[in-house]
Each structure stands twice: as C-alpha cells, then as structure tokens.
Amino acid sequence: MIALLARDLRLAVRAGGGFGLGLSFFLIVIVLIPFGVGPETGLLGRIAPGVLWVAALLACLLSLDRMFALDFEDGSLDLLVTSPLPLEGIITVKAVAHWLTTGLPLVAAAPVFALLMNLPGHGYFALVLSLLIGTPALSVIGAFGAALTVGIKRGGLLLSLLVLPLYVPTLIFGAEVARRGAESQPYTSPLLLLAGISFAALALLPMASAAVLRVNLR
C-alpha cells in the first residue's frame, strides 16, 4: 500500500498533471472573484470564507477524473485489482494520494489566498482548520465519483454533475466553520459535524467505490 501511495505521488508530481494544477486553478478563481464583485475590501472580507471554500472544492474537482482514468486506460488498474490488496484499500490509498497532492497544498496555500481576499485576521485559524478537516472528505467522495465514471469516455462533465451534489453537506459545514471563525463566533458544533462527515466518508465510501469499480471492470 505504501508502495502504491509512493507511486501515485511520484506520478502526480512528475507526470505533469494534477499537482500544482489544482493550486493554480484555486489562485485563478480567487483572482477572478474581485473582478466579478468589485475590489471593495469590506465586501471581499465578508464573502472570503465562502468563496475560498467553493474555490477549494472546484480545485479538488478538477483533478478527480485522472484518479482512476489513466490507470484504467493503460491497464494498471486491472493489475492492481488482481493484486492481493483489497480493492477498498487501493481506493483509500488513491484518495489519500489525491488529497496529498490536491487537498493539502490547498490547505497550505489558503492563508495566502485569504490574504488576497482580505479575510479578517482572526478568521485564519478556523479557515485552515476547516479546510484541513473538510478536504479529505472531498477527496474520498470524489473517488466515488471517479470510480463511477471511469469507463465513460469524456466523463469529466458527468463526474462534476454527480459529485457536486454530494459535496453540499461538506461545503455547508466547512464554510460555516470558516464564516463563524471570521466573525469570531464559536464554531465547535459545525466543526464536529464536518469532522463527522469526513470520518464517515473515509470509513464507508471506499466500500461503495470498490463495488462500483468492480462493476466497471467486469
């Protein structure tokens, strides 16, 4: 499993896809927002938590379709499935690799982008914390969507249609934590709910993804 993780990470970094692309997309969305709503700093600061969360979500979505598709095309997915590793484990590893190359950089870069969006100073901790806890759920849910659409040619658009509604609860609680943090309100309860979604998704969704992937490889 560790070897698989290392392989996926190496592929993401070296093969010129995924890594960095999500981050750049995140930056572009953040740059576009002020053009859309105007450069007034008060307004930007107020919408910053929500905009940062939506941007992170879209950036996550961008690299989902390559999670299984490349391995599916060159046949290495078949090899992985026939290996002694449980398929659920393979999917979890793939989701973790996706998170390490997409989610974690977003979390690390969020404070810088929050600066661009003029987020109030006391909101940084809640924002980073909410992204740190919430983005794993995005990767795991995304893995389910990617497994669903792996056999479909040009499934990217379908993937977003399938995955985005599933992202709604995560987005609501994540953005709520960030918003309350920015307004100096207590945010324990949405944070706990967000963590609940993340852990439940991590524990249960790989089973569904594995079932779907087995159907697709039949």
């Binding site: 389910f144 669903l148 479909i152 379908l158 249609l161 399938l162 709604v168 609860p169 949405p190």
Partner: protein
C-alpha cells in the same frame, strides 16, 4: 403460494400491469379532475392568502411525490442489487424522470405562490434549497443512466449511486437546516389532526394527492413496459443478425 417476486418475471409483470393500467389510468384522471376542480372552484378563498392558496392542490402533492419517488427508486435499486430482478432496475429508471418533473413542478408552483405571498420568487430557505439539491440528484442519476451503454452495468452503477445519493440527500436536508432559517411554513398535512389545515381544504387535497400517486403508478407502468419491449426488440434484432 403467491409471492410478490412472481412479478419479477417480465411477462407476468407486463400481463398484470397491462390489465390494471386502464383502471389505474382512469382512476388517476378521475381523482385529479375531481381534486383539482373541487380545490379550484368549490373551496373558499383563504382568510389571508386569498385565491393563491389554491396552488396548494398541485404544490403539496407534487412535493410529496418528488420525495416518495426517490424512496421508491431507493427500494427498487436495493431489490436490483440484492435479487437482480431486471424489472426492478427498469422501474427505478422509469421513475427518475417523473420524479425530476415532480420536483420541478413543486419548485415552480412554489415560486409562483411565493411571489405574491413572500414577495419573492426564490429564497434560500432550507426546504426550497433541499428540493433544488434533490433535483440535482435526479439529474445526475438520469445522466449516469444515459451515459453507460451496457444495460446491466448502468443498472448496477445507478443503484449504488442511488444508495449513496440517498444518504447524502438526507445529510444535505439537515445540513441546510443548520445553514439557514426557513421562510417556508411547517407541514400543512399530517396525520395529527391538530396541525392540519381545515377540512374544506383537506378533502380535495387528499383526492388530489391520490390522483398524483395513481398518475405516477400509471406512468411508471407505461415506461417500464416500454423499456421491457425495447429490450426485447433489441434482443430479437441481435439474434437476427447472428442467425
């Protein structure tokens, strides 16, 4: 002993449903006609809402159907996963577009009612928002059915999507409650008599709900049987090409 699983046989299913279809269809037409005409012309205007209250006879049944159709799809998907009866998967597929249309009707009539009553076509109220999300789930489900060539693969994938989607739809339903306080009133129809609307509105609403349910059953039967026939035709053509 007769068992419900006998209807997993497409032939038996088609024979029974085709025989029942005219009755269900006419009953649906009758109930809808009586319920809507009664509701529109023979009930008094509401004390505060005036005649706008009459949209209730379309809005409430379609909203109930929108949710219950998803539940029906969930059950038929489970039956497909567990017992692999094709009719079940086809019924789920047949129900999805009807559910999407019901959701759209509920949203549309709600908007038309909300404009004079709340002063706005749309508000990000929990109920409204969760209905919009439900609509997106229907769209995704139908898109997945349409995207996959192999029928059995499509049935498997969409069933699992339906199961996972149900969990997330429920989560979203309560998450949006957390996110925004509502403008929408509470339940207008419940079995608890104290919370109900007055009897003059209640009876035509019941008839109209029965009409919507019957209409849905009739449409699902027609659509499922059409799909069974289409598959049979495809199989025949494939056999002819081989032979």
């Amino acid at each position: 002993m007769a068992s419900i699983w006998e209807y997993a046989n497409p032939l038996k299913f088609m024979r029974t449903t085709e025989a029942a279809l005219p009755f269900i269809g006419w009953a649906a037409a009758l109930c809808l006609g009586v319920g809507l005409v009664w509701g529109f012309f023979f009930t008094p205007d509401d004390f505060r809402q005036g005649s706008t209250v009459k949209i209730f006879y379309i809005h409430v049944p379609s909203a109930m159907m929108a949710i219950n159709i998803w539940v029906m799809m969930l059950i038929t998907s489970l039956i497909w996963i567990v017992r692999r009866h094709h009719v079940s998967a086809l019924a789920a597929r047949a129900a999805a577009p009807i559910g999407a249309v019901m959701t759209l009707i509920a949203l549309f009539t709600g908007a038309v009612w909300g404009q004079p009553m709340w002063g706005t076509w749309w508000a990000w109220d929990p109920r409204l928002t969760s209905f919009l999300i439900l609509f997106l789930f229907y769209l995704g489900y139908m898109a997945l059915w349409a995207a996959i060539e192999n029928d059995d693969t499509a049935a498997d994938l969409t069933s699992i999507l339906c199961l996972v989607g149900s969990v997330f739809a429920l989560l979203s339903r309560y998450a949006v409650n957390f996110w925004n306080q509502g403008l929408h009133q509470g339940a207008s129809l419940s079995l608890d008599k104290k919370e109900n609307v007055a009897d003059v509105f209640w009876y035509p609403a019941l008839v109209s709900i029965a009409g919507f349910v019957l209409l849905f059953v009739a449409l699902v039967i027609v659509r499922t049987n059409t799909e069974i026939r289409a598959r049979r035709a495809r199989a025949l053509m494939a056999r002819e090409r081989l032979g």
